[in-house]
């Protein structure tokens, strides 16, 4: 038995000003999952998000959010929290006033105190938004998006400008919401975040999906990499590639464990210290770079 997907998109097309931003896009976001919608600049993910959030109408195709038309604000928004890419706060209102206003308009009940505590802005409650730093504004944004614990949350580049503690706090809060069953749609340029936290990823390029699937599925197509450097005077290792200009070696392998063992055995046998040793599966960054350099097939 399958439950209704939280978001169901079928052959979505978005055109504006003669520009075909989204071409026949179809995908679903299941309830309770964290879905990362990623893409190169101009890939159409902002337009897609805007349609799903209800800010823009589709040129064609069907979009169902929580079973309803996203443009039906009254029906959908009380169950949905949105963290926009750019905070739209009034500079003359205080933190608490802004949170109270957006909270009231969200259609859900909660306390301003609680959401400010989640983002650690309680001692700034009476500060005007104009005097907040960029990171603090972002945290306020997050607080208003999760007001009332909505069942569907959109996070558009949530950690931009946040220091490491704030980022951790934000992801802790997201984790809490996920445990309560909320569905999260994330867009971010910090690909490590998507790689670490997303259940599934949709990678857009030029209006359509280039890849969609779990992180493992996406990174399987590219080799893993082993990196290390050798001290001066060390014997040359038995590897295909020679050292790079800065003396470091990169071994690309589809069998990370075997090749790593081989390298470690060699280093042990020759009593060589491998400095800066790192062995990791492909990062999403590399998947991205592969897309950008690879011409799109029709």
């Amino acid at each position: 038995m399958t439950t209704t997907p939280a978001i169901d998109i079928d052959r979505l097309n978005v055109t504006y000003g003669g520009f075909h931003a989204v071409k026949d896009l179809s995908f679903q976001v299941e309830q309770g999952e964290l879905y990362a919608l990623l893409g190169t600049n101009g890939a159409g993910k902002t337009s897609t998000l805007e349609v799903v959030e209800g800010h823009r109408t589709a040129s064609s195709g069907t979009v169902r959010v929580l079973g309803k038309n996203p443009a039906d604000r009254r029906a959908v928004r009380p169950r949905m929290g949105i963290m926009l890419q750019e905070s739209g706060f009034s500079p003359d209102l205080t933190v608490a006033e802004s949170a109270r206003l957006i909270g009231r308009l969200s259609g859900r009940t909660d306390s301003v105190d609680r959401v400010l505590r989640v983002v650690d802005l309680t001692d700034k409650a009476d500060t005007r938004v104009a005097q907040l730093s960029g990171g603090e504004k972002r945290r306020l944004d997050f607080a208003t998006a999760v007001y009332g614990r909505p069942e569907l949350i959109f996070l558009d580049e949530p950690t931009t400008g946040l220091d490491i503690q704030s980022r951790d706090a934000l992801w802790n809060a997201v984790e809490q919401l996920r445990q309560d069953g909320s569905t999260i749609v994330l867009t971010t340029h910090y690909l490590e975040e998507a790689q670490q936290r997303a259940d599934r990823i949709g990678l857009m390029h030029r209006g359509t999906f280039r890849h969609e699937g779990t992180v493992a599925e996406l990174t399987r197509t590219l080799p893993a990499a082993i990196q290390f450097s050798l001290p001066a005077g060390a014997p040359a290792p038995l590897v295909q590639a020679g050292p790079a200009a800065d003396g470091s070696y990169v071994i690309e392998t589809f069998d990370l464990q075997t090749d790593l063992k081989q390298l470690l055995d060699w280093a042990h046998a020759h009593d060589v210290e491998l400095s800066g040793l790192s062995a990791a599966p492909t990062r999403l960054d590399d998947v991205f770079r592969a897309i950008e350099s690879d011409p799109v097939s029709a």
């Binding site: 800010h55 604000r73 009254r74 928004r77 905070s87 739209g88 706060f89 003359d92 209102l93 206003l101």
Partner: protein
Amino acid sequence: MFSIARSELLQILRNRAVLISSLIMPLAASAFFVYQRDVFTLIGSVGYVGAVIVFTIAAFSLYATTVTTLAARRQNLFLKRMRSTAAGDAAILTGLVLPVSVISLVQVGVILAVFTRLSGAPTNVPLLVVAVAATFVMMLALAVATAGVTNSPEHAQVTTLPLSLGVIAVTSWVGITGTEQLGTLKRILPGGAATELIVHAWDGGVPLSDSLLLLAPTTAWVVVAIALASRMFRWEPRR
């Protein structure tokens, strides 16, 4: 809607520039007209002074302020933030224009009350109220329309000039020269019929049926203004 209105009121009270241009300046101008009422009465009539007061408040406290604040709310993406909640467009817009409208109405009420004390009561108070209400609704709708083509609060200083000065000019023209000559033209211009209505309501001496006829162009302008507003208003900055 009322949460939005309350936040809007807070933002207006905390913004010194808006306070001066919207609260103080029009009040000062109106006070000047009341102070010089004898001169103005000679040029036009007592009703003319009333009309000038109404249109000064309508053009500056209501129209120019609304255009400026709506443009500012759009520019800093506050409008977009409002629209990403469960609130509907109508509730948002109403909440945003409510404080300025109430402030302007209170201003006009107070000034006209003071003026009445000094120069005598208007002949037909209900008709005056209708005329003032129609004027205010028209100017409010025109403000929403003008906000659609205004990119920023600074830009508003330019975009509000044509209508605010134009309406004052029309009021003066009609109030001073009356409507025997070029009557049709004067009544078609925005604020023209409303001015005549205010003058009649205040001075009296004109049959009620004639005055009621003036409601037609006045109402027509209200309808046109609302139509323009719904077509021209933008919620997001142009990308």
